[in-house]
Protein backbone atom coordinates (compact mmCIF):
# COMPACT_ATOMS: atom_id res chain seq x y z
CA UNK A 1 0.00 0.00 0.00
CA UNK A 2 1.29 3.47 -0.83
CA UNK A 3 1.44 6.35 1.63
CA UNK A 4 -1.33 8.15 -0.24
CA UNK A 5 -3.63 5.11 -0.23
CA UNK A 6 -3.03 4.68 3.51
CA UNK A 7 -3.63 8.36 4.27
CA UNK A 8 -6.90 8.35 2.34
CA UNK A 9 -8.06 5.07 3.90
CA UNK A 10 -7.43 6.39 7.42
CA UNK A 11 -8.34 10.04 6.86
CA UNK A 12 -4.88 11.34 7.75
CA UNK A 13 -3.90 14.79 6.53
CA UNK A 14 -1.04 14.86 4.00
CA UNK A 15 1.42 17.75 4.25
CA UNK A 16 3.87 18.51 1.47
CA UNK A 17 4.49 17.77 -2.18
CA UNK A 18 2.07 15.26 -3.72
CA UNK A 19 4.87 13.39 -5.49
CA UNK A 20 6.34 12.14 -2.24
CA UNK A 21 3.26 10.11 -1.26
CA UNK A 22 3.58 7.39 -3.89
CA UNK A 23 6.12 5.26 -2.01
CA UNK A 24 5.14 1.86 -0.63
CA UNK A 25 4.93 1.37 3.14
CA UNK A 26 6.90 -1.70 4.15
CA UNK A 27 6.62 -1.59 7.95
CA UNK A 28 5.68 0.63 10.90
CA UNK A 29 8.09 2.02 13.51
CA UNK A 30 7.29 4.04 16.67
CA UNK A 31 9.76 6.16 18.67
CA UNK A 32 10.47 9.76 19.66
CA UNK A 33 14.19 9.63 20.45
CA UNK A 34 15.90 10.61 17.23
CA UNK A 35 19.06 8.54 17.67
CA UNK A 36 16.98 5.43 18.25
CA UNK A 37 15.07 6.20 15.08
CA UNK A 38 18.30 6.81 13.20
CA UNK A 39 19.77 3.49 14.25
CA UNK A 40 16.71 1.29 14.27
CA UNK A 41 13.89 2.52 12.02
CA UNK A 42 13.69 0.24 8.97
CA UNK A 43 14.07 1.89 5.57
CA UNK A 44 10.66 2.22 3.94
CA UNK A 45 8.78 2.28 7.25
CA UNK A 46 5.98 4.59 8.35
CA UNK A 47 7.54 6.29 11.39
CA UNK A 48 4.97 7.30 14.02
CA UNK A 49 6.09 10.02 16.44
CA UNK A 50 5.04 13.13 18.34
CA UNK A 51 8.36 14.88 17.62
CA UNK A 52 7.34 17.56 15.13
CA UNK A 53 10.57 19.53 14.79
CA UNK A 54 12.95 20.13 11.89
CA UNK A 55 15.40 17.52 13.19
CA UNK A 56 12.77 14.81 12.88
CA UNK A 57 12.52 15.63 9.18
CA UNK A 58 16.32 15.43 8.81
CA UNK A 59 16.32 12.03 10.52
CA UNK A 60 13.45 10.80 8.32
CA UNK A 61 15.35 11.79 5.21
CA UNK A 62 18.67 10.29 6.23
CA UNK A 63 17.25 7.07 7.71
CA UNK A 64 15.21 6.69 4.50
CA UNK A 65 11.84 6.03 6.14
CA UNK A 66 8.84 6.16 3.78
CA UNK A 67 6.97 8.85 5.74
CA UNK A 68 6.58 10.51 9.12
CA UNK A 69 3.18 10.19 10.79
CA UNK A 70 2.62 12.72 13.58
CA UNK A 71 0.24 11.20 16.14
CA UNK A 72 -1.92 12.76 18.87
CA UNK A 73 -2.93 15.63 16.59
CA UNK A 74 0.63 17.02 16.64
CA UNK A 75 1.39 19.35 13.76
CA UNK A 76 4.98 19.79 12.61
CA UNK A 77 6.38 23.28 13.01
CA UNK A 78 6.91 25.56 10.02
CA UNK A 79 10.65 24.85 9.74
CA UNK A 80 9.88 21.14 9.60
CA UNK A 81 7.25 21.60 6.88
CA UNK A 82 9.63 23.71 4.78
CA UNK A 83 12.48 21.24 5.17
CA UNK A 84 10.20 18.34 4.26
CA UNK A 85 9.15 20.19 1.11
CA UNK A 86 12.76 20.85 0.11
CA UNK A 87 13.80 17.24 0.70
CA UNK A 88 10.71 15.36 -0.49
CA UNK A 89 9.86 13.87 2.90
CA UNK A 90 6.19 12.85 3.20
CA UNK A 91 4.47 14.09 6.38
CA UNK A 92 1.08 12.94 7.69
CA UNK A 93 -1.01 13.95 10.69
CA UNK A 94 -3.15 11.55 12.71
CA UNK A 95 -5.48 12.61 15.53
CA UNK A 96 -5.07 9.24 17.28
CA UNK A 97 -2.45 8.23 19.89
CA UNK A 98 0.80 6.59 18.78
CA UNK A 99 -0.26 2.97 19.38
CA UNK A 100 -3.66 3.37 17.73
CA UNK A 101 -2.07 5.13 14.75
CA UNK A 102 0.54 2.41 14.30
CA UNK A 103 -2.05 -0.35 14.61
CA UNK A 104 -4.35 1.34 12.10
CA UNK A 105 -1.54 1.71 9.56
CA UNK A 106 -0.46 -1.89 10.01
CA UNK A 107 -3.99 -3.16 9.55
CA UNK A 108 -4.71 -0.94 6.56
CA UNK A 109 -1.47 -1.96 4.84
CA UNK A 110 -1.85 -5.64 5.75
CA UNK A 111 1.47 -5.70 7.63
Amino acid sequence: MTIEQMAKALGYEMIGESGTFSREIESVYCCDLLSFVMGRAPAGSAWVTVMGNVNAVAVARLADVACVVFAEGVRPDQDAIEKAGQNEVALLCSPAPVFDTARAIAEAAGL
Binding site: S35, G39, A63, D64
Partner: protein
Protein backbone atom coordinates in the same frame (compact mmCIF):
# COMPACT_ATOMS: atom_id res chain seq x y z
CA UNK B 1 41.54 4.59 -11.67
CA UNK B 2 39.30 7.68 -11.50
CA UNK B 3 40.24 10.54 -9.19
CA UNK B 4 38.41 10.43 -5.84
CA UNK B 5 35.59 12.94 -5.39
CA UNK B 6 36.41 15.18 -2.43
CA UNK B 7 33.97 17.36 -0.50
CA UNK B 8 34.40 19.58 2.52
CA UNK B 9 31.77 21.03 4.88
CA UNK B 10 31.72 23.57 7.68
CA UNK B 11 29.45 22.47 10.51
CA UNK B 12 28.27 25.34 12.73
CA UNK B 13 28.09 24.61 16.46
CA UNK B 14 24.79 24.76 18.37
CA UNK B 15 22.72 25.34 15.21
CA UNK B 16 20.14 22.58 15.24
CA UNK B 17 18.14 24.01 12.35
CA UNK B 18 21.06 23.38 9.97
CA UNK B 19 22.22 20.13 11.53
CA UNK B 20 22.17 17.41 8.92
CA UNK B 21 22.77 19.72 5.95
CA UNK B 22 26.18 18.21 5.19
CA UNK B 23 24.93 14.62 5.55
CA UNK B 24 21.92 15.40 3.38
CA UNK B 25 24.13 16.84 0.66
CA UNK B 26 26.41 13.81 0.68
CA UNK B 27 23.38 11.52 0.52
CA UNK B 28 22.13 13.36 -2.59
CA UNK B 29 25.54 13.10 -4.27
CA UNK B 30 25.83 9.37 -3.54
CA UNK B 31 22.34 8.72 -4.91
CA UNK B 32 23.23 10.59 -8.10
CA UNK B 33 26.40 8.50 -8.39
CA UNK B 34 24.21 5.41 -8.33
CA UNK B 35 25.43 3.76 -5.12
CA UNK B 36 23.18 1.07 -3.63
CA UNK B 37 20.46 2.37 -1.35
CA UNK B 38 21.96 0.35 1.52
CA UNK B 39 25.40 1.96 1.08
CA UNK B 40 23.82 5.42 0.83
CA UNK B 41 21.83 4.77 4.01
CA UNK B 42 24.91 3.58 5.91
CA UNK B 43 26.84 6.73 4.98
CA UNK B 44 23.88 9.01 5.71
CA UNK B 45 23.23 7.55 9.17
CA UNK B 46 26.85 7.33 10.33
CA UNK B 47 27.70 10.81 9.03
CA UNK B 48 24.55 12.43 10.46
CA UNK B 49 25.25 11.04 13.92
CA UNK B 50 28.78 12.43 13.73
CA UNK B 51 27.50 15.76 12.47
CA UNK B 52 25.00 15.99 15.32
CA UNK B 53 27.74 15.18 17.83
CA UNK B 54 29.80 18.05 16.41
CA UNK B 55 26.83 20.41 16.82
CA UNK B 56 25.99 19.25 20.36
CA UNK B 57 29.45 18.67 21.84
CA UNK B 58 32.18 19.90 19.53
CA UNK B 59 31.22 23.51 18.95
CA UNK B 60 31.04 22.72 15.24
CA UNK B 61 33.91 21.76 12.99
CA UNK B 62 34.79 20.43 9.57
CA UNK B 63 33.78 17.29 7.69
CA UNK B 64 35.92 15.93 4.87
CA UNK B 65 34.43 13.32 2.53
CA UNK B 66 36.25 11.28 -0.08
CA UNK B 67 34.39 9.04 -2.50
CA UNK B 68 36.17 6.35 -4.50
CA UNK B 69 34.69 3.47 -6.48
CA UNK B 70 35.42 1.21 -3.50
CA UNK B 71 34.51 3.26 -0.45
CA UNK B 72 33.24 6.47 1.11
CA UNK B 73 35.62 7.90 3.70
CA UNK B 74 34.51 10.56 6.19
CA UNK B 75 36.70 12.52 8.54
CA UNK B 76 34.91 14.66 11.15
CA UNK B 77 37.14 17.13 12.95
CA UNK B 78 36.19 19.40 15.84
CA UNK B 79 38.13 21.49 18.33
CA UNK B 80 35.70 20.99 21.19
CA UNK B 81 36.37 19.70 24.72
CA UNK B 82 37.36 16.19 23.63
CA UNK B 83 36.13 12.85 25.01
CA UNK B 84 37.52 11.86 28.42
CA UNK B 85 36.68 8.15 28.24
CA UNK B 86 36.05 6.83 24.74
CA UNK B 87 35.05 3.31 25.84
CA UNK B 88 32.39 4.82 28.13
CA UNK B 89 31.18 7.12 25.34
CA UNK B 90 30.84 4.09 23.06
CA UNK B 91 28.33 2.45 25.41
CA UNK B 92 24.69 2.65 24.34
CA UNK B 93 22.77 4.98 26.64
CA UNK B 94 25.78 6.93 27.91
CA UNK B 95 25.33 10.64 27.20
CA UNK B 96 26.59 13.98 28.47
CA UNK B 97 24.08 15.98 26.39
CA UNK B 98 22.31 18.78 28.27
CA UNK B 99 18.57 18.79 28.98
CA UNK B 100 17.89 21.35 26.24
CA UNK B 101 19.34 18.97 23.65
CA UNK B 102 17.39 16.00 25.03
CA UNK B 103 14.18 17.97 24.63
CA UNK B 104 14.85 18.10 20.88
CA UNK B 105 14.96 14.28 20.78
CA UNK B 106 18.74 13.87 20.90
CA UNK B 107 21.06 12.81 23.70
CA UNK B 108 19.90 9.20 23.99
CA UNK B 109 23.49 7.98 24.03
CA UNK B 110 23.14 6.25 20.67
CA UNK B 111 25.26 8.49 18.46
CA UNK B 112 28.67 6.81 18.64
CA UNK B 113 27.17 3.28 18.78
CA UNK B 114 25.13 4.07 15.65
CA UNK B 115 28.26 5.37 13.90
CA UNK B 116 30.10 2.17 14.78
CA UNK B 117 27.14 0.04 13.65
CA UNK B 118 26.62 1.70 10.27
CA UNK B 119 30.23 2.30 9.23
CA UNK B 120 32.51 -0.56 8.23
CA UNK B 121 35.49 0.96 9.99
CA UNK B 122 35.68 3.70 12.62
CA UNK B 123 38.54 5.31 14.53
CA UNK B 124 38.29 8.00 17.18
CA UNK B 125 41.19 10.24 18.15
CA UNK B 126 40.40 12.60 21.00
CA UNK B 127 42.47 14.81 23.26
CA UNK B 128 40.75 16.50 26.20
CA UNK B 129 40.91 20.25 25.75
CA UNK B 130 41.95 20.01 22.08
CA UNK B 131 39.20 18.22 20.17
CA UNK B 132 38.09 15.05 18.48
CA UNK B 133 38.58 13.49 15.07
CA UNK B 134 36.40 10.60 13.94
CA UNK B 135 37.35 8.72 10.78
CA UNK B 136 34.77 6.40 9.25
CA UNK B 137 34.73 4.26 6.13
CA UNK B 138 31.76 2.69 4.41
CA UNK B 139 32.66 0.08 1.78
CA UNK B 140 30.76 0.52 -1.45
CA UNK B 141 31.77 -2.77 -3.05
Amino acid sequence: MPEPIKMEYDVPGDDFTRAGAASGDVKSVLKKLGLSSEAVRKVAISMYEGEINMVIHGGGGKIYVEITPEAVRMSLVDHGPGIKDISLAMQEGWSTAPESVRNLGFGAGMGLPNMKKYSDHMEIHSVVGEGTTVDMTVQVI
